[in-house]
Symmetry: D3
Subunit: 135 residues, 6 copies
């Protein structure tokens, strides 16, 4: 149950700013599917436009990390933040970008291991070794 | 200020279980450096042995994800869990495994972006699209 | 699916301590509606009484922050803690206290922005500027 | 101890993109002080420019929420995310925008109360009342 | 909606590694019930085996903390991490190990209180008293 | 570096409400030591009084859980919330109430294990088994 309404295509077509973002999502992804995240953000055109522009810059523009690696990182953050919607959408996106079941298994193992050692290091309040200094 | 004592090499050498783990850490990493995380876990030999065995299986054994990608995922979890020690140790480990400054920059951008959209999706309580179903 | 039973009005009427809190909730809010949070806490009268007394002191008694501002802060914490129930109940409460859609949009933008910069500052382990000292 | 270097004014002056952001921070805030957050982001000009542009849109441009209210929300998120740097910088910013000690006290009380009831609602897995539906 | 398939008994019986873990879960717990957590992990035999071995060592082997106390601690972590599945499974496990309603009530009160004071201490950035030093 | 001033004994003695709480802390704990948490809350007498009254009811009054078990739960929440101050103060409190090194070791193992399985269950979005229903 969302806390805002989800915009249908008919409603979006009546608002040029929203329509423009939906059009660009479809063109960029070469798919007619606009997922609910954008339909919820459509209530807030400033936020919709800024978030989509940032996603394009961070996740879609070519860079030093390949697209699948970025999705794995996105999943890791989403799991740790416990965002159910994001876990579903980015696990699907990672699979669409080629994530194999074995890669998924290892991703989960790393997330689980990091969560455990994070808790241990925090419980023990371990001082940072000077060897880790960036200088 | 740790909540337990940190074991020195001299103290470790008096306990065969601890010494065996420290020896294996040094042999596996081909380095004499044993960082404070293991010196704190040494108070608890069961936990020390199990954690090191798991780290070897998850992070060091060959698999479907390369070692640097695993470190980037580890950093992403550690940042989201806000584990200061872990952020320092795994950022240093990623650099040792070849992470460039540009890759670090993109890692941070993805972590930041995911944190923002996680919060938005949670605030909006967006229902999961049926298209994301695994079945 | 709750982990405890939710008390009906009939059940509450058989327990004077619970009935007294439900009565006060209704009188204070000038509404017959007692939401599920209190029906779950009713399993634990000490906790029910203490929590309601605290809520009255913190959220309802007049103070230096107006009631709507307090609700916006409550939503911000609830989103960051990912409490689905609390996001729904306090978003509804904020709307009942006059939150406009534009205010909701800006609230979400601030929550998203803070989540992103929190992650960046944590990843970068930025030292606190001495200019921020309270002294 | 940061995980990246912090850019000095002298270093920033040698990079036009960084210098432009630092100049705009100073002009917008009417202050010569550029805090460490921006000096750390300077390692990553894309992220620096995008983050500053977003902060200007979200926190500084006029809107439906006043600047102090936005700072209180920012503090609430930062406390819940446990971002030490952000708690310091935004508590200082809120004071600079007029936050009184009594307002600070009430902010803390709301954050504490929300944290407690978030945990209770989560532990009890309370179902959302249909009365909270947006429809 | 899980992000992986859940293994049925029939599917498990076709994979000796998975069957062996399911058999050991049933023998150890003296129950025919294998809950969904293990049916999801079955997609990843390494992770399934390692996680079950760790659970046996940490939660089931005799030690200095009794089994019910360990379950209460598990619930406390799961609530704070907001893991809905884990809250349900470990609340049920604690009840099976004898947790009374009064103990559950006090557990919730401690979790709620800790969550509140955690937020206050973090917001106030309180320096650690030297009296708490382990040395 | 705290975000508020810490009240000295001399300052507390000039404010009857604060002095009364400090006196009661000393009498209840049979110790002259008043730790920094209370010296920071002293800026906000309402919050100071309410928090101390709640701590007395939850942590000190006799109940169904013994005092050491409550401290272990408190530590578990504080670690998961990453509250450095609270980890230090409650680890010290648990030791003062008799926590042995072996109990501390097992506490850490449970916290670590729960953190790992929480992350896995969240990543897998495992549906709750109907067997866990309270009804």
């Amino acid at each position: 149950m969302p806390t805002v309404k989800l915009w249908t295509d008919a409603e979006a077509s009546a608002n040029p700013r929203i329509q423009a973002v939906f059009d660009d999502i479809r063109a960029t992804r070469r798919s007619d599917f606009v997922n609910n995240f954008w339909r919820a953000l459509a209530n807030q055109p400033d936020l919709l436009e800024r978030t989509w522009a940032s996603i394009k810059q961070v996740m879609i523009a070519p860079g030093a990390l390949d697209p699948l690696t970025k999705e794995l990182i996105y999943i890791a953050v989403s799991v740790t933040n416990n965002c159910s919607y994001c876990i579903h959408s980015h696990t699907a996106a990672a699979r669409a970008k080629g994530m194999t079941e074995q890669q998924h298994a290892e991703l989960l193992a790393v997330i689980g291991m990091a969560s455990e050692t994070n808790a241990l290091a925090t419980a023990l309040q371990i001082p940072v070794d000077p060897e880790f200094s960036v200088e």
